[in-house]
């Protein structure tokens, strides 16, 4: 198991390198001269040329690339052109905000989505089941930007219960903090919640008719334990896969949700950087998001082993069956 993890960590390097290459090329292909955009329409040609040289953008592409990789290897993500701050600091400023939003959305999604899926599967074809499947279908197909705006319109503008934008700091009190958090996390939770409910329902349906569930009942075990212990653990693997993907993308920053609610997270940072042609920030943040995906995938793969004892990473013969 230890060997496997080390192997996987070494395998991350080429993945991240490929991401770095792609991001580097894309940022160079975006139309618009970063220097011109930064200096504004009034800047003279000389000023633009001077800045281009300062940024190193007049060098040949491969030299630029090796400079970039060289800096990365030294742990230097570069400095933002617009914020005049190291990228690492910028990310560390914004990332905790994204984490707060992602975790609260995830908690809502799991606490509601998973039980809804279980109930739906154990009462297949009941009114409750139809309700869950209908709502979750609407949930996965709901455009986030529309839902966010509607929530703001109703709960902030009409009812005035929650603030419509921004993030409350803990200094203003826990209550303010939570009030700012509720609408964005609800918006962000909708899709994962619905997806969890759907996946839980379908994999539970496959499992509840299995013989070992009947065995558990024949032992006189309570129905609640039959479902939650015997059936659910067997149904958990597909759910774990989907959860991993959702966690990665939530941690990578919720561009739409953060934009609607002006939430100062990673998503807003990226959008800002793209608009201002701050290619250094784009490179840095995308690479960071790639790192999150790779790490979460590794954690999920390790968790598979915890859920399913048949998975054997230590030998080549084992494998899943």
């Amino acid at each position: 198991m230890g060997k496997y993890i080390i192997k996987r960590i070494i395998n991350m390097i080429p993945t991240l390198l490929i991401v770095a290459i792609i991001v580097f090329l894309i940022t160079r292909m975006i139309p618009g001269d970063p220097a011109a955009v930064m200096l504004g329409p009034q800047a003279s040609v000389q000023e633009v040329e001077k800045l281009t040289e300062e940024l190193g953008l007049n060098k040949p592409l491969h030299i630029q690339f090796f400079d970039y990789i060289g800096n990365l290897l030294q742990g230097d993500f570069g400095n933002s052109l617009t914020y005049n701050q190291p990228i690492a600091d910028l990310i560390m400023d914004r990332f905790p905000n994204t984490v707060i939003l992602a975790i609260s959305a995830l908690i809502i999604a799991i606490m509601i989505g998973v039980p809804a899926g279980i109930i739906s599967a154990t009462r297949q074809n009941s009114i409750l089941d139809y309700t869950v499947t209908t709502i979750s279908l609407i949930g996965v197909s709901m455009p986030v930007f529309w839902l966010g705006v509607m929530l703001v319109l109703y709960f902030s503008v009409n009812l005035g219960w929650f603030p419509s934008t921004g993030m409350g700091s803990m200094d203003e009190g826990f209550f303010t903090f939570i009030r700012h958090l509720i609408l964005p996390s609800l918006t962000l939770a909708t899709i994962p919640m619905s997806q969890f409910a759907r996946i839980t329902r379908s994999s539970m349906l496959e499992v509840v008719s299995q013989d070992y569930v009947k065995t558990a009942r024949s032992k006189g075990v309570r129905e609640f334990i039959v479902i939650c212990k015997h059936a659910f653990k067997n149904a958990f693997t597909p759910l774990l896969t989907v959860m991993g993907l959702q966690i990665s993308s939530l941690l990578g920053g919720a561009v739409l949700t953060e934009t609607i609610f002006s939430w100062p997270g990673m998503g807003l940072l990226i959008i800002d950087a793209i608009e201002k042609r701050d290619f250094v920030v784009v490179q840095g943040t995308v690479l960071f998001i790639a790192l999150i995906f790779v790490v979460v995938n590794l954690v999920v793969d390790i968790l598979y082993k915890v859920v399913n004892p048949k998975i054997n990473y230590s030998s080549n013969k084992g494998g899943t069956s």
Partner: protein, 342 residues
């Protein structure tokens, strides 16, 4: 006078889906005494498994429903118990073993966990004591080095070993009745014999009565005291093993007996079969359910359902014809075959 353990009266089980109702079990009655073994035989779809699972009320509801009948277990009517009271019976007083040991154990928990769960559901003892008991059970069912094996997962066991684990789970709480639903069907022949031996030995130790569901008559002759022959949800013949073996009365039983593989079977000749297939149970069957496949069927067989008749002590058969003629016919048939073989 043997003590009665289980009495099933006119059990009816239906599966309802949409407009069709399938009568899987249609009026099954039998009694079972303590420490006695009864075999339920019949082809696939004859209702033997449904009968057995209904005894523990484990039929999935809906679509299944026990529509009529009584199941008395030590004078308690199981069909009138609350869910909680029923749970106290399952695994404790009546246990069940299923056909395929590769799917009946939960793949994500250790076998120890699954045995201990069964023990701790019914007995208020500590985890440690339960574990000791589980190790003892594994030892009893013949699993080598049980202290180690108890921490292993089902996929680390062979098919026969898994069935041994299932038996350990089933007997862990010392039940009075063990329902074995084709316990050897999924195992290969040498392992089958071992499992049957094990069950017989453990029966003596635990004083358990067994309901053995099988389509293998060999298993019945070896392990059972009584036999119930089922066809299309009905009991067509019942009696002691000797009665059914030596003096079968129902044409369906004859068919079953004739289609056994015995030493006398001629290799050049195809094994005799019962032509046709069982009736569609979602349709109302008038008359005898076996009539359509019965070589002796007369007009009355298609119009009137035969009653259960006691032909000798405790030997019941449901057929309109109990005369010697019918048996003479059968003898003739067998002779014909013998001549052909010769």
């Amino acid at each position: 006078m043997p003590e009665e353990l289980l009495r099933v009266e006119n059990l009816q089980v239906e599966f309802r889906s949409g407009l069709t109702t399938t009568k899987a079990v249609n009026g099954v009655s039998f009694t079972l005494n303590k420490k006695e073994n009864i075999g339920i035989v019949g082809e696939s779809g004859s209702g033997k498994s449904v009968t057995a699972t209904s005894l523990l009320r484990l039929i999935p509801e809906p679509p299944g429903i026990i529509s009529d009948g009584n199941i008395f277990f030590e004078e308690k009517d199981l069909l009138k118990l609350s869910k909680k009271e029923m749970r106290a019976i399952r695994g404790n007083e009546i246990s069940m073993i299923f056909q395929d040991p590769s799917t009946s154990l939960n793949p994500v928990y250790t076998v120890g966990n699954q045995i201990i769960e069964s023990i701790r559901t019914h007995e208020k003892i500590s985890k440690k004591e339960a574990k000791q008991k589980a190790i003892k059970m594994l030892e009893l069912v013949g699993i080598p080095s049980p202290e180690k094996r108890i921490n292993m997962y089902p996929h680390e066991f062979s098919g026969g070993m898994r069935q041994r684990v299932m038996i350990a789970i089933a007997l862990a709480c010392n039940p009075k009745l063990l329902i074995a639903d084709e316990p050897t069907t999924a195992l290969d022949v040498t392992v089958q014999a071992q499992i049957l031996d094990l069950m017989k030995n453990l029966q003596d130790e635990f004083n358990t009565a067994i309901i053995m569901i099988t389509h293998d008559l060999g298993v019945v002759w070896e392990t059972c005291d009584k036999v119930l022959v089922m066809y299309a949800g009905n009991v067509v013949e019942s009696g002691t093993v000797e009665q059914i073996h030596d003096n079968p009365m129902h044409p369906y039983t004859w068919g079953l007996l004739d289609s056994q593989i015995t030493e006398s079977v001629n290799n050049d000749e195809p094994l005799p079969t019962i032509p046709g297939s069982p009736p569609d149970l979602s349709q109302e069957v008038r008359g005898c359910p076996f009539a359509a496949r019965c070589p002796f069927a007369q007009d009355i067989c298609f119009s009137k359902k035969p009653e259960m008749v006691e032909t000798e002590d405790n030997h019941y058969v449901s057929c309109h014809f109990q005369t010697k003629d019918k048996r003479l016919d059968r003898k003739e048939q067998q002779n014909d075959r013998a001549i052909v073989k010769g």
